[in-house]
């Protein structure tokens, strides 16, 4: 191993090379921007406009929609229920994103540590979990947690916890969200694990070996070397998780359909759906959507800020 005798490469010289101004990078980005504007611009514009209107079922059937300025937003701000849903959604999002990341990193480290065959088994099982369509997965989970015939209750009962015979998991919000968390984390761990594993393969063996010789413990290697080295991967994965878990809809909706009390288990996604499709109050539901957009931008600001900092250095 010649690693120890080789000096670290000198840092790149911080000279300010004048970039040649060309249109190529802009041309390359233009395509993506055009598609974004086409696909997202119209609905977003429509949403902003609708959120400023009184728009219900009558307007949907051709009555003129009256502009009411920020009245929908004012109604939202003073609506205690919305803030309950926001608090619930943010909490759900942070808990799920955190858990997903922790479990995902754990599995990635495991994949990195074990031999080829167990790694293959891990990867295949995660791919299967990841590839399973939401609706199919939800059907299986609902079946597992069924109050009368579910495997979960049967197992608990067989283990001597007879209180769980006929226990309904979806009845109370706390256990409803426990089930929802298990499902959401289960579905998103594979993505994190694969991304982080890809990052781990970039950590050079030499550095770790050097650290070992210097007497660093496994924990110190993890926190001092591995995690900092894969930080770019971690931060983008965390950002995506936060955005996805804030907008989670299908899993919650399908669990609500299986049971539970919607008003006690609504998250932002299902609340918007209920306002729009359920109550035909499109003005209000657009206003909540815009609010969620702002919330998402606020949540991801840490990443944007980091990006900008990197640009400046």
């Amino acid at each position: 191993m010649p690693a120890l005798t080789r000096a670290a490469p000198p840092p790149p010289p911080q000279t300010r090379r004048r970039r040649r101004r060309t249109v190529v990078p802009y041309a390359l980005v233009a395509g993506a921007v055009a598609i974004l504007v086409l696909a997202m611009g119209y609905p977003l514009g429509w949403q902003v406009v609708t959120s400023l209107k009184e728009f219900g079922l009558e307007q949907q059937f051709g009555q003129p929609a009256e502009f009411v300025g920020l009245r929908n937003y004012a109604a939202l701000a003073t609506d205690g229920y919305l803030w309950t849903v926001v608090a619930r959604s943010v909490a759900f999002c942070l808990v799920n994103a955190g858990l997903t990341l922790a479990v995902g990193i754990g599995i990635a480290l495991l994949m990195n540590a074990v031999g080829r065959f167990p790694r293959l088994v891990l990867q295949i099982s995660m791919l299967l979990a990841w590839a399973m369509p939401v609706v199919a997965a939800m059907t299986v989970w609902r079946w597992l947690f069924d109050w009368r015939r579910g495997v979960v209750n049967w197992l608990l009962d067989a283990a001597g916890l007879h209180g769980f015979s006929g226990h309904n998991w979806l009845e109370r919000p706390a256990s409803f969200f426990l089930v929802a968390t298990i499902i959401v984390v289960w579905m998103s761990v594979p993505f994190v694990a694969f991304s982080v594993y890809a990052g781990l393969t970039q950590v050079s063996e030499e550095v770790l070996e050097a650290a070992q010789l210097d007497g660093a413990s496994a924990r110190q290697q993890l926190t001092g070397i591995i995690l900092p080295m894969i930080r770019p991967v971690l931060s983008i994965v965390l950002l995506l998780q936060l955005i996805w878990d804030l907008r989670v809809f299908a899993q919650i909706k399908m669990l609500q359909d299986a049971g539970s009390t919607p008003s006690e288990t609504n998250l932002l996604g299902t609340y918007i759906y209920q306002l729009g499709t359920g109550s035909s109050d499109f003005g209000m539901s657009s206003a909540v959507s815009i609010f969620v957009l702002v919330l998402t931008v606020a949540l991801s600001s840490f990443y944007i800020a980091a990006l900008l900092r990197e640009e400046e250095t």
Binding site: E58, G62, R149, G259, T261
Partner: protein
């Protein structure tokens, strides 16, 4: 779906190439041939009925065709909201749930068909459903078929518990509690009467039976009346049933309770895939009349598939008795039907309505176990015990309030919530007042 897409293309193609003359209804012969679409909700209209409609329509309107698309009940509201206002995509004739009808008729989604009222059956049509499709004395939707709810019982289990069939509401209430307490077969989680905690569609029968109602119209405004003393009486009886007769989960709705009445059964999802197996867990359930096809002993049908054979020794039907022993006013199930206001072929749509309200089709409906809209045809239901129970239980049945915001009340699941809280032992009077305050603004169409 491909058929639907093709139909839409055909519609847009012909409407963009020529200016369709507005039919003035003077002569059916002047109507341009076209393909029209009928939306049916759920699978209640069976394949034979559909085939009859398609064939008869094609025969009576040469060159025109009828396409039938089935919409699942759960998606119907969303689909009506998006499709009906759009002339290019709207179905021409639409079946809507009787409780959804007021919401759409109040915003002008349907064509005024008052001029056809007498021709389609007039005062022979089921009047409570006619009212659900009426705004300011004009008819926008008319009854399509009615169903009704009655009790299916395990005669053998009732007998083992030493109980006779009840003849008044009070007797019913005490009998189902006694069965649950006796539990003659020692079954886990056994219910004398299986009533889901969120099952308001069956539960409101107790409000109606005690003279209460969900809402009344006070001048121009609708007011929720859950805290009316009569409603409270019914809800209190219901809470006792929940506490001591029913072991259904607090979040169960009215989906397939017969699974718990059969000795063994299998729960299926919408695609017919088996998701769970069930066994006898209830002595009594309440369900729409057509549930009897799903109740009985497991046999192999003519097509080799498993089927249910009704067995009079084991199973029985019981019309829920009211306080006076007459049939209790239960919630009437069923549908209305109307023509989309944006339909580009109103004359052909009217031709289809004439077929639907013809004596022949009405009798076919009755033959399929669906209560025909035209009350002179009710005899076509036959005279077996199911037909008798259907007619008896429908004789006194009621509809949900014809308020403009009723669809939002249903889709917000606020009643599911209210009944679920009643079932878990909340204070009835306090809950009723709390939910009256929530529901009254929704009824008048100011959601939120």
């Amino acid at each position: 779906m491909a058929v639907g897409a093709a139909a839409t293309l055909a519609l847009t193609a012909c409407s963009s190439s020529t200016d369709t003359p507005e039919g003035d209804g003077t002569s059916a012969g002047a109507v341009e041939a076209a393909d029209i679409t009928l939306w049916l909700a759920g699978g209640d209209t069976n394949d034979d009925l559909r085939a009859y409609l398609v064939d008869t329509f094609a025969a009576e309107n040469p060159g025109s065709t009828l396409t039938i698309e089935e919409q699942p009940w759960g998606d119907l509201d969303a689909k009506l909201t998006t499709a009906l206002p759009d002339a290019n995509n709207t179905p021409d004739v639409v079946e809507v749930g009787n409780t959804q009808s007021p919401t759409y008729t109040n915003v002008g989604a349907f064509l005024d068909i008052s001029d056809m009222y007498d021709e389609l059956g007039g005062d022979d049509l089921l009047q409570s459903f006619v009212a659900a499709g009426e705004v300011d004395g004009l008819n926008y939707t008319l009854p399509y078929y009615f169903g009704s709810r009655y009790m299916f019982v395990r005669k053998d289990v009732w007998a083992e518990a030493g109980l006779e069939m009840p003849t008044t509401l009070d007797e019913f209430n005490s009998s189902v509690k006694a069965i649950a307490a006796a539990n003659p077969r020692g079954i886990d989680n056994f219910s004398g009467f299986f009533l889901g905690g969120q099952d308001w569609r069956n539960g409101i029968s107790w409000i109606f039976a005690n003279g209460g109602d969900l809402a009344t119209k006070d001048g121009d405004e609708w007011v929720s009346t859950l805290s009316d003393p009569n409603s409270i009486t019914g809800l209190t009886q219901l809470q006792e049933i929940y506490e001591s007769a029913s072991n259904a989960p607090a979040d169960a709705k009215d989906a397939s309770p017969w699974l718990y009445l059969n000795d063994t059964d299998e729960a299926m999802d919408a695609d017919g895939a088996v998701t769970a197996s069930t066994s006898l867990a209830a002595a009594t359930i309440m369900a729409p009349g057509w549930a009897h096809w799903s109740i009985g002993d497991l046999v192999t049908g003519e097509d080799g598939k498993p089927a249910r054979e009704w067995n009079d020794a084991t199973f029985g039907v019981l019309v829920l008795p009211g306080v006076d022993g007459e049939p209790a006013p239960v919630f009437a199930g069923g549908s209305n039907i109307g023509i989309s206001a944006k339909s580009e072929h109103p004359e052909l749509a009217k031709a289809l309505l004439r077929i639907i309200f013809s004596d022949e089709y009405q009798q076919l409906l009755g033959g399929a176990g669906l209560g025909p809209a035209n009350q002179t045809m009710v005899s076509s239901l036959g005279d077996d015990q199911f037909a008798q129970a259907l007619i008896a239980s429908a004789s006194n049945s009621k509809l949900t309030p014809a308020a403009p915001g009723w669809a939002s009340v249903e889709s917000s699941k606020v009643l599911e919530e209210f009944f679920s809280k009643i079932s878990t032992g909340g204070d009835v009077t306090a809950l009723a007042q709390e939910y009256d305050e929530k529901i009254t603004p929704m009824l008048n169409g100011n959601a939120g």
